[in-house]
């Protein structure tokens, strides 16, 4: 039986000066790298496939399979790009990871780059997290000084350069193709797929884009093996996962538990609801994942469990709201966010979010009518699946799920106005 909490990525965080290379090496860091460099790159891809590791950035795509898509012997340079543009509302796992243990990410970057035969890797970090960027830069310098980066790493003949790249404040750059455009020095707007980054990514060359938590897991998988990794979690979603609890909970924080842990179990560890005020709604994986309610406390939080219950695992960003919070207000605030962050490329998302905000603001101000609910759903229907990237899809999630579970609350906002209108028509 596996323990309720399984600190792997978070274990080193409690060490004094955890971010230094001395601490990292003293606690088993950079022991996976020499093993990996002695293996054939395809063996590393095979091991990652066997482990069942799935992307921790939200979509859950099998990581080993993504690496395997990179064409080999094509004569083109290959690139690894780390998506550290953490900004999905509620998500707060990658920033603490990079602040407390940047070397686990860097060791993962070196191993992954070797596996996909890349000689240049970029870590794209959102710009607003200066301390994190400092720590990463320092860790990269330390790794160069120790011969873990640069030419002929540990005598293997493998070369790798890593650059830490600060973004400039755009949620959309967390979308992998927008991130690549941004890294190329352009406006961060998504590209039409296909072609996928695996064949046509950074500088139109084969590129793997992976999330921070995903790549930081790689050294542990090399050291522990795929069977060890699979001892945690569930069959199709194995491994440990950092669950980020925030909001109206007694002890918010980062809890690393096996995939498939439920909110009820996590709340128990986090001291329950704050001040005993009952749970009303929550997001399983950031604001782009449809809302859950108190009915969903026992949903196993892994990719399958969340999907079967009508939402998505996303980034396991559990934003928890109690009974004092108005759902239409929360939905309005999230919609204001999506409107601000829509990059403007696709009409349904750009125009749709613009109108959704106005309708919701009107409703929350008490000037809505019941027909506004239909209009909201109609606009949502015209955004979902009709834009290049998932931002539009994410934008409609809080609205459609909010109306699904809390329609009465939206109707209550309109009650007064419906009566006035009925009177006027009489």
């Amino acid at each position: 039986m596996v323990d309720p909490l399984t600190p792997v990525l978070t274990k080193r965080w409690t060490e004094p000066r955890s971010w230094t290379i001395e601490t990292y090496e003293r606690t088993g860091g950079y022991t996976a790298l020499p093993k990996a460099l002695k293996a054939h790159p395809d063996q590393l891809i095979g091991q990652c496939k066997d482990s069942g590791l799935r992307g921790r950035g939200g979509a859950g795509f099998p990581t080993g399979m993504k690496w395997g898509f990179i064409p080999q012997g094509d004569g083109k340079p290959h690139y690894l790009v780390i998506n550290a543009d953490e900004g999905e509302p509620g998500t707060c796992k990658d920033i603490p990871l990079m602040m407390a243990d940047p070397h686990s990410l860097i060791e993962g970057v070196i191993i992954t780059s070797y596996a996909i035969r890349a000689n240049f890797a970029a870590i794209y970090v959102r710009g607003e997290v200066l301390h994190c960027i400092r720590r990463l830069n320092a860790a990269v310098r330390e790794a160069y000084a120790k011969g873990y980066l640069g030419k002929d790493i540990l005598g293997s003949g493998f070369d790798l350069d890593v650059v830490v790249h600060a973004g400039a404040g755009a949620y959309i750059c967390g979308e992998e193709t927008a991130l690549l455009d941004s890294l190329e020095g352009r406006r961060g707007q998504p590209r039409l797929k296909p072609p996928f980054p695996a064949t046509s990514g950074l500088y139109a060359s084969p590129t793997v884009v992976n999330n921070v938590e995903t790549i930081a897991s790689v050294p542990f998988i090399v050291n522990g093996g795929s069977d060890w990794f699979r001892e945690m979690g569930r069959d199709r979603s194995p491994g440990p996962k950092i669950y980020s609890l925030s909001g109206h909970v007694t002890n918010p924080g980062q809890y690393e538990a096996p995939m498939g842990t439920t909110l009820r179990q996590l709340l128990d560890l986090a001291g329950g609801m704050k001040d005993g005020i009952p749970l009303k709604f929550w997001t399983p994986g950031g604001s782009s994942t449809p809302l859950f309610t108190a009915e969903h406390l026992d949903v196993p939080l892994d990719f399958e469990g969340a999907a079967e219950a009508g939402s998505m695992l996303g980034t396991t960003a559990l934003q928890i709201f109690n009974e004092t919070v108005s759902v239409p207000w929360a939905v309005m605030k999230w919609t204001e966010f999506y409107k601000h962050e829509s990059c403007g490329k696709c009409t349904p998302c750009r125009e749709g979010t613009y109108w959704l905000v106005q309708i919701l603001q009107r409703m929350v101000a008490g000037n809505g009518t019941a027909s506004d609910i239909d209009t909201l759903l109609d606009v949502c229907d015209n955004i979902l699946g009709r834009s290049f990237c998932a931002l539009g899809d994410g934008a409609v999630s809080p609205i459609t799920s909010g109306i699904k579970y809390f329609k009465d609350e939206f109707l209550a906002l309109c009650d007064q106005n419906s009566k006035v209108l009925a009177g006027a028509n009489a």
Binding site: L5, P89, M99, R134, V164, G167, G169, S246, G253, F337
Partner: protein
Amino acid sequence: MTQAPENTAFDQSTADRAQAIIARYPQSRSALLPMLHLVQSVEGYVSQDGIRFCAGQLDLTEAEVSAVATFYTMYKRRPCGEHLVSVCTNTLCAALGGDEIYSTLKSHLGVGHEETAGEPGTPGSITLEHAECLAACDLGPVLQVNYEFYDNQTPEKALGLVKALQNGEKPAPTRGAPLTDFKQAELQLAGFFEGRDADLDGPSAAPETLRGAKIAQERGWDAPQVPSSVEFPALPEKK
């Protein structure tokens, strides 16, 4: 082009830094985002001169650089104060008090979003903005000064902080390095850290961050034992 343009705020050392940024990347245009941060470290915003400087360094047109500079929230088109105060007003922080913090600071400073109280660039001047999710939700409500984190804020704490900044004090962030100013933060975002090694030691992991790991320690919970030796899978057969 490696020479600094004439009659601007951008001297030879800035031009040298711009070239150092370009050298980090396989293709020069990738240097544009860090270079715009560099420009802000000189002027406190992205001016038309700054646009021209980047265009010259990268052999791009001014229109190409402007298109990029106007896309991103962190590039300011008007001069910023000594400090930039960003209050998270996304849903979760807002529900925990973020909206109230923002309105308190707004009325104290007498300015709105992306406006500056005081003469921009002078000591004690402050640019206020409301920010989207800052990825510190377990520590909410949060605000940032020059992109350093001040966690678990209240309207009173935030007001005290802003008053101290106006008086020329630099209260330490909850997580991060000793506070400097907006321009110096932008220089670090451009990737220049010379002489600032001590900044690394600033606190990082908040108590909240470590809660899960600490509970596991206390209760003796751990991941399964790692096997003593691990074999890599055999090489897949060539198809």
